[in-house]
Amino acid sequence: MDNSKSDSKLLLRRYFLTKYHQEPFRVMDCCQGEGLLWSVLRREYQVSAYWPMDLKTRKGRMKVNSARVLAQGGWAVDVVDVDTYGVPWAHWQAIVETMPGPVTVFLTIGSVGVISNVDNASIERLGIKFSRRPVQALLSRVSLSGQIIDSWLSMALDQATVIECMEAPPSRNSRGAPIASYIGIRMEPK
């Protein structure tokens, strides 16, 4: 685990867990990967239930599309961690639309800055619809990451009250350009 990335991620999670989760809490780890983040956090906090998920098979976790699990509703956890290499928007949309109660959400947003391959859902969300198809090539030169992140996060405003939103220092490449954003949100349904 890259130290700079893990420091930022842990800093963000410790802040919210210390502030909002003094009692034992349940966690859905949507993109568990190597499981290093929560192996550390479970030693520090009272995690009463931990559900690891990933698209890749690994012993001890569910191989499942966690965005679809969230979209179905009925999930009962206090913390949802979406530490993905790509973009977390499918998960985020599902959480906003189906959250049963107050929840703390951690989002890792990869591919910030100048986007080389904007996902179609984000393009649609920004309202970019052309009948001609050179748009993708044009977007690769335009920094839309801030707009995209704000557009998706603002989805919560219709259905939830945002208690607090914090951003941890982004991870950067060798040239110092940001390559991933880390955001934590505490919210409850309206």
């Binding site: 930022s8 800093l11 963000l12 410790r14 802040y15 210390t18 502030k19 003094q22 009692e23 034992p24 009272q46 920004l126 309202g127 970019i128 619809k129 052309f130 001609r132 050179p134 748009v135 090539a137 044009l138 030169r141 335009v142 839309l144 707009q147 704000d150 557009s151 996060l153 603002s154 919560a156 405003l157 945002v162 607090e164 939103c165 914090m166 951003e167 941890a168 220092p169 955001i183 949100i185």
Partner: protein, 182 residues
């Protein structure tokens, strides 16, 4: 048994780490310990544990390593056999971790202390959130955008270049140009 333990103040540097100590202490924990010890309202609120028969430290490694070696630290000194010492080291912390939680009483305690103080002590730095690297983020709806795709023969691009630059200078407007080879 009543006289088994006595309290002394000992230089931290004179207490060697016990090679059989099975607890490890991450940097964040040591920082949090240091913060509590340095808090003028708190300081030392417990003592290390030392076995004078074996001359080994049983508990308090993180605390004594968090301070200058010349610092006098409180040490409870007892006399145990090596077997008893092993039992103590194996059960002291695990028994403490078996404690559960009375949320109402915890909330009542939290109401007595500013939450930022508690967070600062636990997270290892008595700094505002911004200096810890975390920045508050306001969630707002971005402006609704209109997107204009303008195609113009490359040979005529110079006719509109100034206008494109004018658009580019407008606040909130994204403007990119791509030249096709054909």
């Amino acid at each position: 048994m009543a006289e088994k333990l006595r309290l002394e103040w000992v230089e931290a540097g004179s207490l060697e780490d016990n090679p059989e100590n099975w607890r490890t202490h991450p940097e964040e924990q040591v920082r949090a310990i240091k913060n509590v010890l340095d808090d003028p309202e708190v300081g030392w609120a417990g003592a290390c544990l030392f076995n004078e028969r074996t001359r080994k430290l049983l508990d308090g490694h993180a605390r004594k390593n968090a301070v200058d070696p010349k610092t006098l630290v409180p040490v409870l000194i007892g006399d145990w056999s090596p077997e008893a010492e092993a039992k103590i080291m194996l059960t002291l912390d695990p028994i403490a971790m078996m404690a559960q939680q009375d949320s109402e009483r915890m909330q009542a305690l939290l109401a007595k202390v500013p939450q930022d103080d508690v967070l600062g002590l636990l997270l290892g730095e008595m700094k505002p959130k911004e200096q810890m690297g975390l920045m508050p983020k306001t969630i707002e709806r971005p402006p609704t955008m209109s997107w204009v795709l303008v195609g113009i023969p490359t040979a005529r691009f110079a006719e509109i270049a100034d206008k494109v630059e004018e658009f580019n200078q407008m606040d909130g407007v994204f403007c990119e140009v791509s030249l096709s080879d054909g």
